[in-house]
């Protein structure tokens, strides 16, 4: 009977091993779960990127409402954002509503960039100081939030959007109203 006690460490070891093995299956451990999912988009009031001749304009979180959208945080200094851009153009061509947040960037550079690489965004919020990014818990561009028609955050993806990611994200997005 006492011999059984000898097996306890082994059992604990196997149990932990199972647990940790499960942990290995998590694809990307660098991604922190966002505490904002299910919450309204944080309030803000910021200008948007405009072309020459256009009227300067301020937007706030209410302007995000109406139709479900992807809110994409990007910047010209972020090389991954450049790679992602082509895919965003594709999505836009498919009718996906994309709103951009130009994060800690220079507006002139951003406008130039969009002129060269096409503009899939409905509009781009200028978050020069990164305050909105902070409120969103942004820690590395590009990041994309999924918001529904009421402006509530329903999902978040850290890293670039591409065909592979979109396979899992698309059903989630299309389920939004």
């Amino acid at each position: 009977m006492k011999r059984v006690l000898l097996f306890i460490p082994l059992i604990i070891f196997i149990g932990l091993g199972w647990l940790f093995f499960g942990g290995l299956q998590i694809e990307n451990k660098d991604v922190l779960p966002s505490p904002l999912i299910g919450k309204k988009f944080p309030p803000f009031e910021l200008p948007i990127l405009i072309k020459e001749g256009e009227q300067a304009k301020l937007v706030n979180e209410l302007d995000l409402r109406g139709k479900p959208a992807l809110v994409n945080v990007w910047a010209t200094w972020c090389p991954t954002c450049k790679t992602e851009h082509a895919f965003l153009n594709q999505l836009n061509a498919q009718g996906v509503r994309i709103i951009g947040i130009n994060y800690k960037d220079e507006s002139e550079k951003a406008i130039q960039w969009l002129a060269e690489l096409d503009n899939p965004y409905e509009f781009n919020v200028i978050d020069e100081e990164g305050r909105l990014g902070l409120d969103l818990g942004v820690y590395g561009a590009p990041e994309t939030f999924l918001i529904d028609g009421e402006g509530v955050i329903r999902g978040k993806h850290v890293g670039d959007l591409n065909a592979k990611v979109w396979k899992t994200l698309q059903p989630q997005f299309e389920a939004l109203k």
């Binding site: 006492k2 818990g137 820690y139 590395g140």
Partner: protein, 171 residues
């Protein structure tokens, strides 16, 4: 050889010391000592969301700098430690606490090792106790008459084979 040994030791110590440096050359100025200490303490309690094994005090990441700036603002603003922590957790989640909170979901993390050590000690003690009585029995056990006879027979066989070997060696 000795020179190499001592210089490499010296360098190791110097590098170890530099780990205490807070932020890379950024100077955050405060009106009073209390705020400064609070800032330094909180910077060590918050994790850099990008370089996740470092706290805000050590990390050079862009995000760490952004968060340090925000932390500075909040401390100067007069917010309490708890308010600041809540602010960060509301945006980045529980993981941003460098030291995990002690709540039901982290009990395993905090108490697990100690509990496992305790279990191990208990097992060792339990095993020792179960072994002792058996050993005593073996020592106190006297040989029965049968066993004595067997022992004599074995002894005779042994001395016979020894003398046989001697004869063979002589020849």
């Amino acid at each position: 050889m000795k020179f190499l040994k001592y210089t490499s030791l010296l360098f190791t110590l110097l590098f170890a010391l530099s780990a205490n440096a807070v932020v890379e050359g950024y100077k955050y100025s405060f009106d009073n000592e209390i705020d400064k200490r609070r800032f330094e303490h909180l910077a060590e309690e918050l994790r850099c969301p990008k370089c996740q094994n470092q706290n805000l005090a050590d990390s050079n990441a862009h995000t760490a700098r952004t968060l340090r700036d925000k932390l500075y603002e909040l401390v100067k603003d007069g917010r309490s430690d708890m308010e600041i922590m809540d602010y960060m957790v509301a945006r980045y989640g529980d993981f941003v606490r460098y030291k995990p909170e002690v709540k039901s979901s982290t009990w395993v993390l905090w108490f697990g090792p100690a509990v496992m050590l305790l279990i191990a000690i208990l097992i060792v003690v339990a095993l020792k106790q179960s072994r002792k009585p058996k050993a005593d029995e073996a020592n106190g056990h006297e040989l029965s008459a049968e066993e004595l006879a067997q022992l004599d027979a074995l002894k005779q066989q042994n001395s016979q084979s020894l003398s046989q070997n001697e004869e063979q060696d002589k020849q």
